[in-house]
């Protein structure tokens, strides 16, 4: 698939080639992983805990060894290179700032072990601190800093020795929502300005969507889909990705026919809808149909002529400020949600109301059951 290729031309910067990992010799945590990361790319590994994403990151960093397969960095196999010789910067989940050292000592540490002279160290430390807007904090100890400040220092420490590749293991997990969103943009900007390659691990899908060039969705030790954020959100390859990324309505049904790239699906209560067949191939197959809440329309004038409509009953209306969130009963599913923008012409639906809803066939994806 074309979206599997890295965003820019410089291919094969980091390559996972049929990598497997097992801790106990009985189960595979990572199953047959193939991944090709381009230079300068921001790639996020997204997945629920236990999906193998952190293990992959640790194998790349050198803290875990692959049970099978090869990891290449810049064309060089790195399986037998110890972590300190890989020249990979890393930001850890709880920052791992050395508590007995000051900020300046923390930042100077990677330069010291690389035998930089004192004046050069100080200059680089200052520059790195300026980069994260923390100049002047040289003499503080990590314990004297707030979570966000520690995060910046951790970032600066991973960048101060100018690695080409930086790994980040849920770096924003410990911050509150507002700060997290702010830091997302800062990291994104640093990535753009420095031209570094970033491999980012998170279980927060919003973070993955807003920051990445491409996202690899992990589940059960495999990459379920590797795609740019928009593709991932709008065209999920399978029902796991559809459920995991963003909010999603699902309806169960059976494929009646597939014609001209459109599948006719009979829902379990007998209604018929059109859907885009993604991984259903023949009539008679069970399918899970997935529609994003904001792609559902209930005003007749907004529906296109070709669209199939379905009966729905309003169960609950929730006012959320910028949007309205309405819960409906559709084809026996009580958890069907639609989202509408809070615009002047928008009507507030009331519980008990009977409405017709519809969508474009390409927004409705027939996935594996």
């Amino acid at each position: 698939m074309p979206q599997d290729a890295p965003a820019n031309g410089a291919d094969h910067y980091v390559v996972f080639d049929r990598v497997q990992k097992s801790y106990d010799g009985e189960t595979l945590v990572v199953k047959d992983l193939n991944l090709d990361i381009g230079q300068g790319e921001f790639l996020t590994m997204l997945g629920p805990s236990g999906s193998g994403k952190t293990t992959c990151l640790m194998m790349l960093a050198g803290f875990e060894t692959a049970t099978h397969g090869e990891i290449l960095l810049n064309g060089r196999p790195i399986n037998n290179i110890p972590p300190h010789k890989r020249e990979i910067g890393m930001v850890f989940q709880n920052y791992a700032l050395f508590p007995h050292m000051t900020v300046a000592e923390n930042l100077a540490f990677p330069l010291e072990v690389r035998k930089f002279g004192k004046s050069e160290r100080e200059a680089k430390v200052k520059r790195a601190l300026q980069m994260v807007q923390m100049d002047g904090f040289q003499g503080r100890r990590p314990a004297q800093l707030s979570g966000g400040q520690q995060q910046r220092i951790a970032l600066a420490r991973a960048l101060v020795f100018e690695p080409d590749l930086v790994l980040m293991d849920e770096p924003l997990g410990a911050l509150d929502k507002q700060l997290r969103e702010h830091m997302q943009f800062e990291i994104k900007h640093l990535h753009e300005n420095l031209g570094i390659t970033v491999v980012y691990v998170t279980h927060d899908q919003t973070e993955a969507l807003t920051m990445s060039d491409r996202v690899a969705v992990f589940n059960d030790g495999r990459i379920q889909q590797l795609a740019p954020p928009d593709v991932l959100y709008e065209a999920p390859d399978n029902s796991f990705v559809a459920q995991f990324i963003g909010e999603n309505n699902t309806l169960m049904g059976t494929v009646k026919q597939i014609e001209n790239g459109i599948a006719l699906v009979e829902l379990d209560d007998g209604e018929l809808i059109d859907a885009k067949p993604v991984n259903v191939t023949r009539p008679g197959e069970r399918t899970r149909v997935s529609i994003r809440p904001e792609r559902v329309e209930y005003k007749a004038e907004r529906l296109q002529d070709a669209a199939h409509t379905v009966h729905a009953e309003v169960l609950e209306f929730i006012y959320m400020g910028d949007i309205f969130r309405t819960r409906l009963r559709v084809a026996g599913n009580d958890e069907f949600v639609i989202k509408t923008r809070n615009a002047p012409d928008q009507r507030r639906l009331e519980a008990g109301e009977k409405i017709e809803i519809g969508w474009l066939p390409e927004d409705c994806r027939a996935l594996d059951a």
Binding site: F63, P83, H84, F92, F98, P110
Partner: protein, 423 residues
């Protein structure tokens, strides 16, 4: 704040000053806290602090001489040792009166023994003189000088009188002088000959061996604690039980087993002879010397080093070392620059614990120390129970306490007591 400045103290709802109300509401909690610690506090006060205080007081107390020989002490005021002559008749008369009274009370031997600590031989002349002097008629039988010298020629020795004069006060520094191996000579206080400075030698040995034992427990315990902190919980718990196992047997049993292992006809020597390492008539001397003390005490005190180390190391997240490695440090640099400094509070706690326990150790040096492995505590015990010189024992004890306090202060300056973590 500004309100209070303008309107006076802040008031609570019922019009009372807020501070007063707060104090009232906290009083119950304070009382409960006091009641909770009261039993232990009283127990410690009565059974520990007061006896120790009175014991330490004995290191300067000297009531027995002025109480038993009041007239003699007063009469000796006018006598000058520098004259080289024994004192005049009034002093002998006073001594006769004092001794008669003391003989009644049966205290003349005690004062003799007290003075004997300072000048050997005094004890016997007091013991010898008690009965004869008691038969004298104080009014008729004078002059007493020659009669005293008849009983024992030493009564004519100015040295004896100098001792009584020097130690006639209610308080004395004599025990401390003795504790640091000093003696009072006619020319003033000075240290004894180097080969007679027993207490100093024992003090240095105690400190030095304790420091060495502390180092040994550190060298042996650090890797074990590290391992325990870095393996699976279940295995770590098993190891912890093995570390604590020695605590479940009595100290005496453990020391005795080292005796069995290390002695000349012991297990280790037998084995060494059996494999031909040493000749049967040339066995290792591993017990009743410093080697034996170091081995046995290191073993006994090891848990006190391992436990604080372990509890501190458990809190050091493995990501620190990983972070160091990812920043380009070798495994040794990561350990030395990142892991080790964070484990220092555990080393500090373990070291001070082991050192202070070692300094005061008694049983093990007594049993396996022999002549050159005994500690100052064995000396204190000897003065206390064999020689009966409680004053000297107390002075040695006080001195030991002072040395430990000084070391603790130095330690605080270097490592910092706040930087010490027991768990």
């Amino acid at each position: 704040m500004t309100d209070a400045a303008i309107d006076g103290p802040v008031l609570s709802a019922d019009g009372r000053p807020l501070k007063q109300s707060l104090r009232r509401s906290l009083r119950r909690q304070q009382w409960r806290a006091i009641l909770l610690i009261a039993p232990l506090f009283v127990f410690v006060l009565v059974s520990f602090l007061m006896p120790i205080g009175s014991m330490l007081f004995r290191s300067v107390e000297n009531d027995i001489v002025p109480d038993t020989l009041p007239l003699t002490v007063a009469a000796l005021q006018d006598w000058d040792y520098a004259s080289g002559e024994p004192p005049g008749e009034p002093v002998y008369a006073a001594m006769a009166a004092d001794l008669q009274a003391a003989f009644e009370e049966k205290t003349h031997t005690q004062v003799g023994r007290r003075l004997n600590y300072e000048t050997p031989g005094v004890s016997s002349i007091f013991r010898k003189s008690g009965r004869p002097v008691s038969r004298w008629d104080l009014a008729e039988d004078g002059p007493f000088r020659d009669r005293f010298i008849d009983i024992d020629a030493d009564w004519g020795d100015p040295e004896v009188w100098r001792t009584i004069k020097s130690y006639g006060g209610r308080y004395t520094t004599g025990y401390y002088l003795a504790a640091i191996d000093g003696e009072l000579t006619p020319e003033g206080p000075r240290l004894k000959e180097p080969d007679q400075r027993v207490n100093q030698k024992l003090l240095w040995r105690t400190l030095w061996l304790s420091a060495f034992i502390t180092f040994c427990t550190f060298a042996l315990g650090y890797p074990v604690a590290w391992l325990m902190a870095n393996i699976r919980e279940r295995t770590a718990n098993l190891l912890l039980i093995l570390v604590l196992l020695p605590f479940w047997t009595s100290l005496l049993v453990r020391t005795s087993s080292w005796k069995i292992l290390l002695q000349e006809q012991g297990v280790i020597n037998d084995f060494a002879v059996w494999i031909g390492l040493v000749a049967d008539d040339n066995r290792f001397q591993m017990i009743n010397n410093q080697f034996g003390v170091v081995v046995a005490m290191t073993h006994i005190l090891l848990p006190f080093m391992i436990l604080p180390l372990y509890s501190v190391m458990k809190t050091i997240s493995p990501t620190y070392v990983r972070a160091a490695r990812s920043l380009g440090a070798t495994s040794w640099t990561s350990f030395w620059r990142v892991y080790f400094p964070q484990s220092v509070p555990g080393i500090g706690a373990g070291a001070i614990l082991v050192f202070i326990l070692a300094v005061g150790y008694f049983i093990t040096p007594e049993l396996v120390g022999g002549a050159d492995g005994t500690f100052i505590s064995n000396r204190i015990y000897y003065q206390f129970s064999v020689s009966g010189n409680w004053g000297l024992a107390a002075a040695l004890g006080t001195m030991m306490l002072a040395v430990v306090l000084v070391l603790f202060w130095v330690y605080d300056k270097i490592v910092g007591v706040d930087n010490m973590k027991l768990g």
